[in-house]
Each structure stands twice: as C-alpha cells, then as structure tokens.
Amino acid sequence: MVAQSLLMGHPLSSPDHARHALLYMYRIRKFEEAVEDLFGRGMMHGTMHLSIGQEAGPTGMCLALRLEDQITSTHRGHGHCIAKGADLTRMMAELLGKKIGYCGGRGGSMHIADAETGNLGANGVVGGGIPIAVGAALASKMQHKGTVAVSFFGDGAMNEGAFHEAANLAAIWKLPVILFCENNHYGMSSSTEKAFAIDRLADRGLGYGIPGVTVDGNDVVAVYEASEAAVARARNGEGPTLIEAITYRWKGHSRSDKNLYRSKEEIDEWKDLDPIPKFIHRVLEANLLRQDEIDAIQKQATDQIIEAVNNAAAAESAEPSGLLEAVFKAVSA
C-alpha cells in the first residue's frame, strides 16, 4: 500500500523528510498540471478545481498526521488526497471515469475518498466536510482511538453554517479535530475582504473558545510546525485548533473562470511566492539535499504522474450496469 511509505515529521529534520515533503508537493503540482492538460485536450469530463500554488498546506498538515488519522477534504481536494497518501493511478482513473477509479467512476474529482489512508472524502458541498470531520473526531474520542481528524476547507466555507455548528461542537466536546482553513483569498470570485469584516480569519476561533493560528500557507515548514502543535494538542485531549494557512490559487476557480475579479499582477505576485522554490531554498540552505537530488525528486514526481495517467487511460471504463444495486450497501444476513 502506498500509504505506508509516508514519512511523518518535520520537513527539515532529515534529508528523507525533506525529500518526502518535496516529493509530495511536486506530486500535487504535477498531478494538477496533468489534469489541466487532460481537460484542455477534451479528455476529461466534468469540471476541475486545481490547487496549484497551494501545495504547502496539505503537505505540511499531512506530515503531522499518521496513517490512521482522518481527513475530510473539498472540491479542491487533489492535494489533500495525495498528501494523505492516496494512489495516483486510482485518482487519475477516477477523473477519467474508470472502473478502477477510487469511486468506480461514480464520484469524479469532487468525491474521491480513500478509506485506507483515512480520507473520508472530497466534497462537492462547500463546508460539507467540516461537521463530518467533527463526527470522526467524536468517534475517535468515544472509541479511545487516539486518532485526530482534520477538516480542510477554504476561506469561503467559513461563512457557511456548517463551519459554525461544527466548530462549536468541536469546542464544547474538546474533540481531537483540526479545522484547517486554506485561505487562498477567494471563494470563487468573492474576496475575503468582501466576505469578512475581520482581517484574520483565525479570529473566528475566538467566538468558540478555539485557539486560532495564522501561518504562511506557502511555507511547508511553517504549516508543519503549526499543524504539529495542533495535533499534539488534539491527541492530548486539549481540543480543537483552527489553523488559517494563507495561500493563493494560481489558476481560475474552475474550468469556466475568466479571472475577472482579480488582476494579473496579483496573480504574478503570488507566483513569486511559489511554495516549492521556497522550500527548496530552505532545504539547500540547510544542506539537506543537493540540487541534483532535488532535480531527481522533481523527475520522480513527474514520472509517477505520467505513469498514473498512462495506467488510468488504459484502464477499463466504468459501466452503467449495477448502478442501482450500488445505492445501498447490502444488509448482511
């Protein structure tokens, strides 16, 4: 299983850790680029929500998690899924509507889940996964499992009632859950300046008695450190933490976005803050990896994605037969 190769821990704590962090950020980047390409060539159905530019958030957070820890994810969920250790071929196969896809072609990009790596699912509903993560944390507490649940969600999701109700339940029951907000400045076309009357979204925690921290979401080290502290709190029975990771989405919201609500300059400014070179800089500075090793890691990620695309493309298409039977799980006798 792919998942078990995950290497937890501080991304600068050893060359292997650095390699892992870098590999996963590259995997996400290359996966998204491949998706964009497949869409562009008309080979993919539906829509797509790319997380290029946001790779440090999921990678840094998931480095602080164990295999059995759980996550809930979003419409923009490829990064979370990859960072938690999912199989790239099955992901890509799902996007291509194949039988071996994670959902057997029934879910697509917005519904990939992977029970083995604790991914309870992307979600087409903004905010939909937040109460679910809280429930997973409740189960962990009730069953004394010692696991932590993380809900990834966007800045936009914070204005849904689901965030509010989930946050309060997490707080009053002191659940081992981390509310991980990827603040990429926009919910579709809606900027955080217009959608919020507060500057720091982490301040939302104040209303629930949940500590809120804001980190540079393009710095995988900073994300890891905040995540690690939140996970420790959660495992200690001290309750939830709200993490706000400041980042930016380079691409349009989805396929149909004309980017009318923001300027090219703004996008370019953020491209200069690319999380991958930022981390490479730290790694080189710390003498953890050499440039040729880094290049090899990038190539490894690219190769893995090419392989995933090829495998997925070659796989058998999902078939309509059996759909009706798939609605309910069979009642065991």
């Binding site: 994670y102 937040i130 799980k329």
Partner: protein, 332 residues
Amino acid sequence: MSDRMLTMAEALREAMGIAMEERPEVFILGEDIGIYGGAFGVTGDLYHRFSPLRVLDTPISELGIVGAAVGAALSGMRPIVEIQFSDFTAQAMDQIANQAAKIHFMLGGALHVPLVLRTPQGSGTGAAAQHSQNLETWFANVPGLKVVVPSNPADAKGLLLSAIDDPNPVIFLEHKLLYKIPGRDPVPEGAIRIPLGVSKVVRTGKDLTLVATGIMVNKAFEVTEKLEAEGISITLIDPRTISPLDMSPILESVEKTGRLLVVQEGPSHGGFINEVIARVSESSSFGSLIAPIKRLAGMNIPIPYAPQLEKAAVPQVADIEVAARNLVKEWR
C-alpha cells in the same frame, strides 16, 4: 402479556436500549435527549441507564449534529440522531440528502453510513405550521435513504432495531400523536427485528384495498371496523417502509378487490400515495380496477394552529369512511 402493551415511545426506547446493550458502537445524540428525556419523552431514562457519553445532549445545531453523526458513522460508530421535530430536518438537509444519502454510492462503495435519524412528524398538537409537517416525501425522493414510518409500537420496535442494524442511513419518522398510545398488539420481548421494505397486511377483506402509513393506519383501521358492520370488507395494508416500497401485497390485493384508496396526512404533491398510484397504474393489476383510484391527503396548506383548523387540514376518520364507502357503493 398485558404489561407488554407498550406505548410507541416505550417501544422505541426499548429498541434503543437493546441495541445499545448489544453493540458498544450504538449511541444517541440530539437536543434535550439526556436529563430531559427527549421533547416527547422517547429517550426517557436511557441517559441514566447508559451514560451521558452514549446519550449525548447536543446544542441546538441540527446541521452540526447530523453531520457529526455522519462522520461518526463513517468511523465505526452507529449513531441514532434525534431531531426534535421533523420540520427541523430542513436545517440538516445538506448532511441528510447530499452527504449521508450519497456517500456510499458516490464514493464508490468504499465507505458507508450506518446512521438512523429518528424524528417526530405530523400534526395534532396545536404547534402550527413549523412543527407539524409530514416531510417523508423529501426523504423518499432522495436515492440512498431508507424511509420508515411506523404505525404502532410493536412494528416501531422491530423496525427500529433493523434500522440500527442497517449499514445505510435510515430516516425514521414517528407520528407524535402515536407516542403516548398503546398499540392494538402487545410488543414482543427481546431483540425482535422486522425487516425494512416489507409491507404488512393489517387485515384482509374483499371489497376495497386501503393503503396507509403511520397514524393513518389507526384511523383507517377504525374505518374498516365500522364499515365491516355495513357489510363492506376492507384489506388494510401498511407499507411501513415507504422507501424502498414493497408493492406486491398491494398489487395482489388490488387484483382481488378492484378498488384502491390511499391515504396520507401530508399534502398530496410528492406524497408516497402518488408513488403507490403510479405503480398500480403501470402494473398489470391496473386492469383489475373497477373504480378510479381514490386518494386522501392533507390539504395543500401549512398546518394551522387553532384546533378546529388543524383538524380540517388533514384526513380524519370520517373522511376515510366516506371515501371508502363511496368507492365501494358507487362502483360495482
């Protein structure tokens, strides 16, 4: 035996108690279900028998608690959520219809959601339009939900135990006027289970097929007894589960009686009775009909407050009686 003439509230509580004893992963969450014992007293002493951890009082957060139940169900637990009035499932519809119902299918079967959502529905308490709806049609229209509407304590117990066993989300709709009245039959001891999706023939007759669920079964039963004296004999069928809907006893009966009356409390549009009619219309039993199908449903109005208005809003025994008699007398 007479001590087993439980009310529906008692029968439901018994079922939950048995399930909680059987399986550590069963727990209940909801508003005021703990020390208060539930707005309609259904959870009663379970809070004391088990623990505040397994009978979990929640804040007023329907969306949050159903969502938390979904997450817990995905993580090895078997939650029973109580929503204080079915009207407030509106608050939780995303978690019910877009999450719980779809996860198993949409995620390719990797995960499933063994969750029971219990909630009282129906009018008759003078609580008016926001506390008196029958919303079963919302749930029946969502593939991936099973929808149960028990009409008596014994069925309620057996169906609830099956619902808790079921690996899928089950919406369990309890008519609030049934909570405090004992059924016609004693409630069996122990962990009796009644499978979901099996219609029950309550009594058999030859002149008319009458289909009803929930509290309407009681009203219809009264009518069958009354009309029996007039020489009209009625087959009364209680589907018990409206989704999936077991049509075979209904179709068989229609073939014998040639007449069909379907009754529900909620407004007709979208109602389960329409599904019954449509299925009969499509079936080969259709040719056996000697009378047009007749339906009785709630008026197409929000439920009003004043008792005389509230009564007028939903089918009463007298309405069923008139409809049944006319169907038989006017179509020979």
